[in-house]
Amino acid sequence: MVKVNLWGSLKARAGGRDTIEVEAQTIRQMFRALGEEEPGLVPVLETGISVAIDGQIYRDDWFKEVDEDSEIYLLPRMEGG
């Protein structure tokens, strides 16, 4: 199981939870499991958000591995100028 931390305003889409534990080996599997656990998250997950794994931020990287010892945060999609 990996523990996924949500950013504050995602709580409203996740039944008030700010962390969710799911079974996943990759970011893609994690997204799928999060969507099944909390369907309210699906529209946000589909917009292409970022994921921080042990402080490193990944964007559009479905097959990056996640493991249960990792610190995982969902973050808004990274953009810049």
């Binding site: 042990d54 490193q56 559009d60 990287d61 973050l75 808004p76 953009e79 100028g81």
Partner: protein, 750 residues
């Protein structure tokens, strides 16, 4: 294979300051910018823009314009595709209004004619029947329940309860950890303040310009100034309903972008006009159009509260940020919230942000979008809190600076970074210890930006004479071609002068994300290092064939293939040129490629220090001295890194002191020109001193971090701290123009 890394030794080329490869073209006028392209039979395209801040378009009559001799095409919203993907809808509507004009300057129709005079005359013949609607241009006013509503189908996202009525607040975001109430209860001293900033423009000197040539069968080409020609291709293809493979986009040289050229404004218009006219169409914006219809940054209204114990330990940090993004949803308020407190360590942090719609042009990215305004507010309060505690503001920052392993304000724990080094360098810097004169003040501020990687594709071709051509798909906005050549020279072990870099068109390489997010030197650079390693393997394989020994018995050292050990045999090393010269007979062309979604971008921190003097009679602020200290990971071409530091500081000086969008009661922009919207010129500025910190990013072979954006995060805060010290009153609104500073000083005396 000996691959260069940040750890395994001295660099030979990386870290040097050679001449830029595009330098001669730019100083001799050979470089071709957006407006320099001419095609046979080319027409002039012009856009009719709304004179109203908010108006329903009841009808558009183009018949008189179409009948004018020399007019070859007129288009309205009806000429763009009806089934544009949802992700491109707002972009399309921002180019040409669909049913409603949402801001002063919003495009309504466009013409293509044989001359500019005819095109201008035709615009006057287009009859638009407007029903003028109430408007709102102020971020706080737009949040009120009785504010004029821009869209009746936008409901606030991110609320705990699903809203039932539409709103100008399109979204709410929240970040943080801990319990701020508990944190403030533990504080001995608390400072809270409200701040406001006005919208500013990126101020690129080159207006948007393009030439579109689209045939009736849907194949075409587009020449344009942009930060991302793949983005332009994909957006235009979607808006025009054509396959992306049928549209080839070439990026011109770019006269500045700074984030403002990461979207499209005129490109689909030129293509739609061309498709209708059957001839190429050039569209070049006037400066008035650039101000009224392209994307400035957000204006912001903010509240910040920070508490600390008397020993200087910050106990809680809280912020509320409201950013307006113009007439469409999607400001960078979430990035403002995430970066606001990123320089600090505290057990209790909370930021809430609101994304607000107003009748202004759609905001575009501007270097570290969302972060500078938040930093202005936060760093002002940090300094004021330090002063109240009787602690030197720099020492206070050092005491509370975020370190590796600390929980960040945006969520995850910090990885290794160079914030502490920038602060310690500032503390030891001669600037920090120089005495000040009367009416002078010194300010410091820190700043943070994420940086990222993104989709990248590069190619490297070895010529028969041993010179090397490299192709990237990321537009060179700040000297990146020189950096690319340096990294390839380093990896291959060939002189910098033997490597040439071009920005390829969209048909020549796989997809490349836009040059934004300070990603190009990091992501394209790493892709080219990997392309070079791919080529080195092939070069070694060719040498192995020539020597008739196994490939694994050959290694690449200092630009030569050589036997890897005594058992491999005795052969004289072969240079890249020697191997390349035999390519025809040893297997054909030698090339290296790499395509990926770049991982491993490293964050960047900076500390800025500035001295200003305030004229007590007029309120005029003079910047006396400015020093930028920033972590670059590894400076590939230090002169360009310094240029990025200086450029960010200068734009921040303009944002802090002079620049602002001024709207009249009628909702129209009052200062759409450089005479009334004053960006800093050389005579306004001191030399911007720089110090490059090199704390290698482990996610890049050479340790590179992006540097293009962090440098605009601290300036407004540093200048506000300096001006506040000089004027003897805390400045909370930007710009700190003479009337505003004078009023603040007068109010303080009263």
């Amino acid at each position: 294979m000996l691959d260069k890394t940040a750890e395994n030794g001295e660099f030979k080329y990386v870290g040097t300051r050679p001449q830029r490869p595009d330098g001669v073209d730019k100083v001799t006028g050979r470089a071709r910018f957006g407006a320099d392209m001419v095609m046979p039979g080319m027409l002039v395209g012009k856009v009719l823009r709304s004179p109203h801040a908010h108006a329903k378009i009841k009808s558009i009559d183009t018949s008189a314009a179409e009948a004018l001799k020399g007019v070859k095409a007129v288009i309205t919203a009806a000429d763009l595709t009806a089934d544009v993907p949802e992700a491109e809808y707002d972009t399309m509507v921002n180019c040409i209004a669909h049913g409603k004009a949402l801001y002063d300057g919003h495009g309504v129709a466009a013409v293509a004619a044989t001359s500019q005079a005819i095109a201008n005359k035709a615009l006057k013949l287009i009859k638009v029947d407007y029903e003028v609607l109430p408007h709102v241009t102020d971020v706080e006013e737009a949040c009120k329940d009785d504010a004029p509503l821009l869209h009746d189908n936008i409901f606030t996202e991110g609320l705990e309860e699903e809203p039932t009525t539409p709103s100008n607040i399109s979204g709410r975001v929240q970040f943080g950890h801990g319990d701020v109430e508990k944190g403030f209860a533990a504080a001995d001293t608390i400072v809270e303040r409200k701040f406001r900033t006005e919208a500013t423009h990126q101020g690129y000197i080159e207006p948007h310009a393009c030439v579109g040539n689209l045939s009736a069968d849907g194949t075409g080409e587009l020449w344009c100034c942009t930060q991302g020609h793949y983005m332009v291709r994909n957006s235009c293809a979607a808006i025009l309903g054509i396959d992306i493979s049928r549209l080839r986009v070439t990026a011109s040289e770019i006269g500045g972008g700074f984030g403002g050229k990461t979207t499209i404004f005129i490109e689909p218009i030129a293509l739609a006009l061309s498709r209708k006219a059957g001839r190429p169409v050039k569209v070049v914006m006037t400066r008035d159009e650039v101000f009224r219809a392209t994307g400035p940054t957000s204006s912001a209204s903010m509240w910040i509260k920070i508490g600390a114990k008397s020993d200087g330990t910050i106990t809680a940090m809280e912020g509320l940020l409201k950013y307006q993004g113009g007439a469409f949803k999607g400001t960078w308020v979430s990035l403002g919230c995430m970066t606001a407190f990123a320089c600090y360590r505290a057990d209790h942090m909370k930021t809430v942000g609101y994304d607000v719609l107003v009748n202004r042009p759609r905001a575009a990215a501007y270097r570290a979008p969302g972060a500078p305004m938040a930093a202005f507010a936060v760093e002002s309060v940090v300094t004021e809190l330090a002063e109240k505690l009787g602690i030197d503001p720099l020492e206070f920052r050092l005491q509370n600076a975020a370190k590796e392993g600390d929980q960040s304000s945006y969520g995850p724990k910090h990885r290794a970074h160079g914030l502490i080094e920038t602060l310690e360098t500032a503390k030891a810097h001669e600037h920090y210890n120089t005495p000040l004169g009367p009416n002078q003040g010194r300010g410091i501020a820190c700043g943070f930006w994420f940086n990222f990687g993104g989709q990248t594709s590069t190619s490297l071709n070895v010529g028969a004479d041993g010179t090397v051509n490299i192709s990237v798909g990321t537009v060179d906005v700040g000297g990146s071609r020189a950096s690319m050549c340096l990294m390839v020279a380093e990896e291959l072990g060939v002189p910098y002068e033997k490597v040439r870099c071009v920005v390829a068109d969209t048909s020549s390489l796989g997809h490349n994300d836009t040059t934004d997010g300070s990603r190009t030197t990091f992501a394209s650079g790493m892709a080219l290092i990997l392309s070079a390693r791919d080529a080195k393997q092939k070069l070694c394989a060719r040498a192995a064939k020539i020597w008739e020994i196994p490939e694994e018995a050959v290694e690449w050292v200092d630009g030569h293939a050589r036997p890897a050990g005594p058992n491999a045999g005795e052969f004289d090393p072969m240079s890249l040129a020697e191997i390349a010269g035999k390519a025809e007979t040893t297997g054909g062309p030698i090339a290296g490629h790499h395509e990926y979604n770049a991982r491993g971008a490293g964050v960047s921190f900076a500390t800025h220090m500035v001295d200003t003097e305030v004229d007590p009679d007029t309120g005029r602020v003079t910047v006396l001295r400015y020093t930028v200290i920033q972590d670059a990971g590894k400076a590939v071409h230090p002169a360009y890194v310094e240029g990025q530091f200086q450029g960010g500081a200068v734009q921040g000086i303009g944002w802090a002191i002079n620049e602002e969008y001024i709207y009249g009661e009628d909702g129209r922009l009052q200062n759409p020109g450089f005479l009334d919207y004053r960006i800093p010129v050389a005579s306004d500025l001191p030399m911007i001193d720089t110090v490059i910190i090199e704390n290698p990013n482990k996610g890049h072979p050479y340790g590179v971090r992006g540097v293009g954006e962090t440098s605009i995060v601290p300036p407004m805060a540093a200048i506000a701290n300096s001006v506040s010290a000089a004027a003897g009153v805390r400045m909370t609104e930007l710009p700190m123009s003479p009337p505003r500073v004078l009023k603040a000083m007068d109010d303080a005396k009263a």
